[in-house]
Point group: D2
Chain length 349, copies 4
Amino acid sequence: MSNQKRNDEPGQRINVAVLGATGVVGQVFVHLLARHRLFYPAVLAGSDTRAGKCYCDEVSWVLPFPIPGDFRDRKISALDINTLKENDVKIVFSALPADVARRVEPELRDCGFYVFSNASALRYDEDVPILIPEANSTALNLIKNQGYPHKGFVAANANCSTTGLAVVLAPLVPLGIKEIFVSTYQSVSGAGYPGLPALDIMNDAVPFISGEEEKIIVEIKKILQLDAAVFPHCVRIPVPFGHLETVWLGFDGDAAVETVRAAWDNFKMEPVGPSFPVQPVQYLEDAGFPRPGLCFHGEPAGQQVFTGRLRKVGDKIGFTLVVNNLVKGAAGGSIQNAELFVAEFGLEG
Amino acid sequence: MSNQKRNDEPGQRINVAVLGATGVVGQVFVHLLARHRLFYPAVLAGSDTRAGKCYCDEVSWVLPFPIPGDFRDRKISALDINTLKENDVKIVFSALPADVARRVEPELRDCGFYVFSNASALRYDEDVPILIPEANSTALNLIKNQGYPHKGFVAANANCSTTGLAVVLAPLVPLGIKEIFVSTYQSVSGAGYPGLPALDIMNDAVPFISGEEEKIIVEIKKILQLDAAVFPHCVRIPVPFGHLETVWLGFDGDAAVETVRAAWDNFKMEPVGPSFPVQPVQYLEDAGFPRPGLCFHGEPAGQQVFTGRLRKVGDKIGFTLVVNNLVKGAAGGSIQNAELFVAEFGLEG
Amino acid sequence: MSNQKRNDEPGQRINVAVLGATGVVGQVFVHLLARHRLFYPAVLAGSDTRAGKCYCDEVSWVLPFPIPGDFRDRKISALDINTLKENDVKIVFSALPADVARRVEPELRDCGFYVFSNASALRYDEDVPILIPEANSTALNLIKNQGYPHKGFVAANANCSTTGLAVVLAPLVPLGIKEIFVSTYQSVSGAGYPGLPALDIMNDAVPFISGEEEKIIVEIKKILQLDAAVFPHCVRIPVPFGHLETVWLGFDGDAAVETVRAAWDNFKMEPVGPSFPVQPVQYLEDAGFPRPGLCFHGEPAGQQVFTGRLRKVGDKIGFTLVVNNLVKGAAGGSIQNAELFVAEFGLEG
Amino acid sequence: MSNQKRNDEPGQRINVAVLGATGVVGQVFVHLLARHRLFYPAVLAGSDTRAGKCYCDEVSWVLPFPIPGDFRDRKISALDINTLKENDVKIVFSALPADVARRVEPELRDCGFYVFSNASALRYDEDVPILIPEANSTALNLIKNQGYPHKGFVAANANCSTTGLAVVLAPLVPLGIKEIFVSTYQSVSGAGYPGLPALDIMNDAVPFISGEEEKIIVEIKKILQLDAAVFPHCVRIPVPFGHLETVWLGFDGDAAVETVRAAWDNFKMEPVGPSFPVQPVQYLEDAGFPRPGLCFHGEPAGQQVFTGRLRKVGDKIGFTLVVNNLVKGAAGGSIQNAELFVAEFGLEG
């Protein structure tokens, strides 16, 4: 990494870019990267109409935390390869809309950039990993199929609901998962901004999220290399942040509550980067938990998945989970993926 | 019914009493009975500390409709057998708390009253029907095991979540239901008043409702005489009225989407009373429905159960339902039960 | 009215049209007119892209009441003069957006239609009355300045916040109002559909509503012919229906609490139409009232303005009010205006 | 401070106690003190029934931040003077209910403790300062009238709504404030826990908060030594955190918008402790601000008061403000007061 010029404030950090920085997921990137130990968001890129304007004037900031002070007055950049190069950026975080992502992300890859993307655009391409370090860290090697290190690559996130499920199922795969019944209670922030009109969701739940159930079915199987039947129901509820999911699992053989609990408790990760939780799945004993309201809790904040209410009925194992849809399920997951990449491959290219 | 004195306003109506008239379910009784064609709420009974006071001063009215004008200034009665007799009341609607109900309802039965109860207190007694006319109208005959017509009786409602499920499953029983996976999205009004503190449920979902899952498991089997495995998850969400439920069903054999849909469409009821829906299950084609926000819709208002998103994955049938937890799932269901009783047995005793 | 063909179901009603029938105010027109005694909504007009389509498929219904059964499958008409004529419509209710209204409403007037409008487009024209029967019923005569009866006319509603204030101030004008301090707590439905993104208003209040304060200042003076100083603050809060307003009034001389209370209690209206409240201002004694949650209460529902917490500090009189922003403050007010017109001028032209 | 034993983690901090540590304000104390540079919460005291139990089991944690890790398993202490002494505590933060505070706080004072209290119990005693360093830092000297340094003392916070108003009015006092019209939009957390039932405040606003208007009137005059007329309206809205207030001011002479703005911009504080904002009043230019959703923003977080929408109508100055009712308006204000005390008087006694 010797030839890598670093931003010297507040230390030697790797310059990165955030594409789609004014959207909800873009905001979370800015929030998380502003004080990241390793990466520095040198470029906040937005649509052409926003380029040159002040970040705080263009963003509809919806997070329960303030805009990081240093970035309030940051100028938004156009989405432009020269800008990235001038800022010594190789790692690009994409919070682009799917249609823009489908056009832009392959171009960036061809130009040698390392794209960590939240968009679903390329997620189902065979050589694009849907990467969740807790679940399938070796899938990162798929980037070689995209031509890395001679070219750049795209590494995708899973869908936010899938991410929570994948993390808690990962240590259970050896038990032989056969059937997954999952009902989601998804927060409003998952629909982005402007997202849902208030009149549609105040006091109401909407039992349909376009494409969401299909994503869960396809992605969970791809990520966990699983041949299970998946029965999802996806519902939007009037909660701002955090997705709750209720789950019943069927197994090939028999699975005990204690086995599942032990699998979660013993599931540890090496902290290869600052966004890695040591304990990816945190079980909460209290019956009233986990709740979406807790979703920014955990260590690191928003990166753990919480489970609770573990029990057995007949031969099925039931439990609930809460995932932070914006951190672990979106921007935080991408950052974690980039940390994994840096740890495994370095930035020499 | 010749010796039955009737309130002459607004016509010949049967005097009834509402016990626990200031609670949330009590309010719904008042709301529904105020303009009921057959019954007249001659007695609104409350706790001793409320007796003699004005209804509108004692009730924390939470319904999205006004207090019926004639009842605003009605005096609350003590829960007293003489008061019932003086008002020629035989039919008593109970919205009492479980502990009070366990003491009071058997006494009323012994004194010859016909108690239609929302309380869970006696619901699991062998000779007390959990009556849902759409599902098990013949269970009304259990009142004879309680000594009717020589004595009074208690006929119970199902739990509100169970009620919605029971109504939509009733016409599917012939298909051989083997497994029921149900996740509830229950509204705040289901917890009564004061119920949940605002700080616990604003922006949050609570994945535990004490005793609720057990009630669904026991009641759905008792009502539908079903030997199925039930896998419930009960969750409170920040919605004021209406319970949404997501369901996956397994069958003994195979069930087609068309068969299920036809079973609902062809499911008709004879309107033996004004609270009876002709079409108990109303399927909504639009993917975004049914929603809790619709729960006071339907004909009669709040008495139909709405379904939607019917589909098949593997050998399982999935769908969603919305039930009005306060009308069909509580007061309206009780009133329907009383209408059934009057139609079948009359009031002569 | 002999040559006026009437819809014969459910009786002899006057055919009317609703322009902008799928918007929030349009929905309220449909809700109110569906069972109106005098008017029958023969034409529901929408934008060209909606014409010919089924009402229930095009509307994003947000009211807490069901779509009136007969209108669910009603075909939406294009906004077209021939359609109005074919349906014998003379009275047109406009819930059009301001820019469309500015173009369309004068055309309709020139073609002889009687336009009762919620749009602010023509509201400030000198010969267009901002009509609130409780406050300035004689302003209806301004329609003659527009050429009536030789031509049609436009009669406007006030802004929803102004309406509530105007109704409660009307009987106080003789006391010599000098200063009006008003802070509004406006519901989300006032912004129409889609209106506010949920992420902007869930858990938050927005202390700015574009143009609203200016409207209150100008309109209250025009309606009440008042030379008072007006100090408004307009704020949106996360409540779906009903506007609360807190008010302090200064008077030329001195005003007693009792005088104000008596002015409201003695303020009665002749019910010249079914939408007229006999008691336009209803004072609620309980300190916790009036609340927006009550806004569909009253007689007729949603047409009364509720006041409460009347008190004096120094020489100022303070109180709160709640107005139903969609009924009295919008569609219901327009309908009332049309009832007044029919009562005073008939439909002969 | 030589004889003061200090907790050595994470440094030399002064041991303090939090009384009423499980309530909402108590939680904020724990949240703020857990990482405070100067104070260490060595004692978390609760009611006798909670003593000896684990903090995380007893608290209904409602903040949007996690329970500080080190305090999750902390044992709750009984409210006991020996416990305080054993832990070398002299500074006591009180989040006690008013009735308990009235009994306990004078006892603690008599025993030599320095009580910084959120309770309103002693707030109106002549020799108890209602201390807001931004507004009346010299009022701290009143503790001498209580017998300090020979005895302990009680220094009170203002009511949360008053606090926001006092901070923004403090630099305007020289302009000659004559009339204050203030309408509050108060969040649910201001009512503590359990506080408001969800059914009372979901979708609704409650235009009455018992005793609140009286507190504003009395306290603002005592704090600012002001002889102004105060016209308050206090309203609860369905927002979890942060109080918005709309204000109109009348002045003895004339006040220009520019003068007011300059007074706020030039209003700076010396940071005598880590909870002191350098800029107590932060003006926000954007018309849609300040909003309650921002209330945890600022530097230090939650300690600044935000203003906006400054304008003049006639001779009155209007603006809005947002104060964090739990930080600056409660626990954070108390901590600031204790920092001021330590800076001015030290801990030697």
